[in-house]
């Protein structure tokens, strides 16, 4: 009788223990799943942080880019809400591609003197900091144009090069978009000729041929 009592007591204890063990294991498994999910979801953000810090040496520029990309990552995640797999794949792709092009994005946004050497040796690129534009070449109202910092703001598009030229007018400073070919002529052959204004653009207007 005592043996039976002991047996049933043991069975109850064993069952209870198993139940507690099972419940604990279940809770741990759920917690582990949740943690794994959180970590996996945070992977793109983590990659972005590490990747940007690793590829961009300038901390201020790195923070600036990271702020922008994290906000976009947030928008991406919001747009794919309810689709965890799609969200993860897209976020991961976003992060990987952003990191892959991070250095290039930074260099493109940087002032030209620190840009690639290849561009510095391009024969059509001005080799000095700026070019003095005679006010008569541009427009009557232009008062002065000095060092223009041309290399700081230039764009090659559709095989044509444009430069932004800051000029002083009675109304204040303005930016003039200049066709690169015209500018090359000015640099190569600085002749005081009104013909050279061909191609200059001023507030949407176009002078010359």
């Amino acid at each position: 009788m005592r043996f039976i009592d002991w047996l049933s007591g043991g069975t109850v204890l064993l069952s209870g223990g198993s139940l507690i063990l099972g419940l604990t294991a279940g809770v741990f498994a759920a917690l582990a799943r949740r943690e794994a999910r959180t970590r996996i979801e945070g992977l793109p953000k983590f990659l972005l942080r590490v990747g940007v810090a690793w590829t961009i040496p300038d901390p201020a520029a790195a923070k600036d880019l990271l702020d922008e990309w994290l906000s976009e990552l947030h928008d991406l995640r919001k747009a794919t809400k309810g689709k965890p797999l799609t969200r993860f794949i897209r976020a991961l792709w976003f992060a990987i591609h952003a990191i892959a092009m991070a250095r290039r994005s930074w260099r493109e946004a940087e002032p030209a003197p620190r840009r690639s050497r290849r561009r510095r040796h391009t024969p059509t690129t001005p080799t000095h900091a700026g070019v003095a534009i005679d006010s008569r070449w541009v427009y009557d109202q232009v008062l002065a144009a000095g060092a223009t910092g041309l290399r700081l703001r230039q764009l090659v598009m559709n095989k044509r090069r444009y430069l932004l030229l800051p000029l002083q007018t009675p109304a204040g400073p303005i930016d003039v978009l200049v066709d690169g070919e015209v500018l090359d002529r000015l640099i190569r052959d600085p002749v005081d000729s009104p013909e050279l204004i061909v191609g200059f653009q001023f507030r949407g207007q176009h002078w010359g041929g």
């Binding site: 922008e68 990309w69 792709w93 952003a98 892959a100 994005s105 493109e108 559709n158 653009q201």
Partner: protein, 102 residues
């Protein structure tokens, strides 16, 4: 570059942010940001940080891009020119061969 510029030029008064441009163009994130950086360095685009409190709006502040009013004309011209260049060439009509070699 022209595709992205065309999206921005659709409505020059509406600033766009990166994810919006990625969705609109279908380009990868890195590609969009390289183009944006290039256009910004050239003075064609103006970049502005959204002036909001992230705690209030419940999201990080976005960075918006809008085209410089002085660059609109040139940008439109270039986009149009590029589209013209990329337009499919007129198909060459096959000349029917009459009386082939015997």
């Amino acid at each position: 570059m022209a595709t992205l510029l065309a999206v921005i030029l659709e409505d020059i008064n509406t600033p766009r942010y990166g994810y919006e441009l990625i969705s609109a163009t279908g380009f990868a994130s890195g590609k969009v940001h390289v183009i944006l950086a290039r256009l910004r360095a050239a003075g064609w685009l103006i970049r502005e940080r959204e002036d909001v409190d992230p705690q209030v709006v419940g999201r990080p502040a976005r960075y918006y891009y809008r085209i410089d009013p002085d660059a609109v004309g040139t940008a439109r011209t270039e986009v149009a020119r590029l589209r013209q260049q990329l337009a499919p060439a007129r198909p060459i009509r096959a000349v029917p061969q009459t009386g082939g070699a015997q």
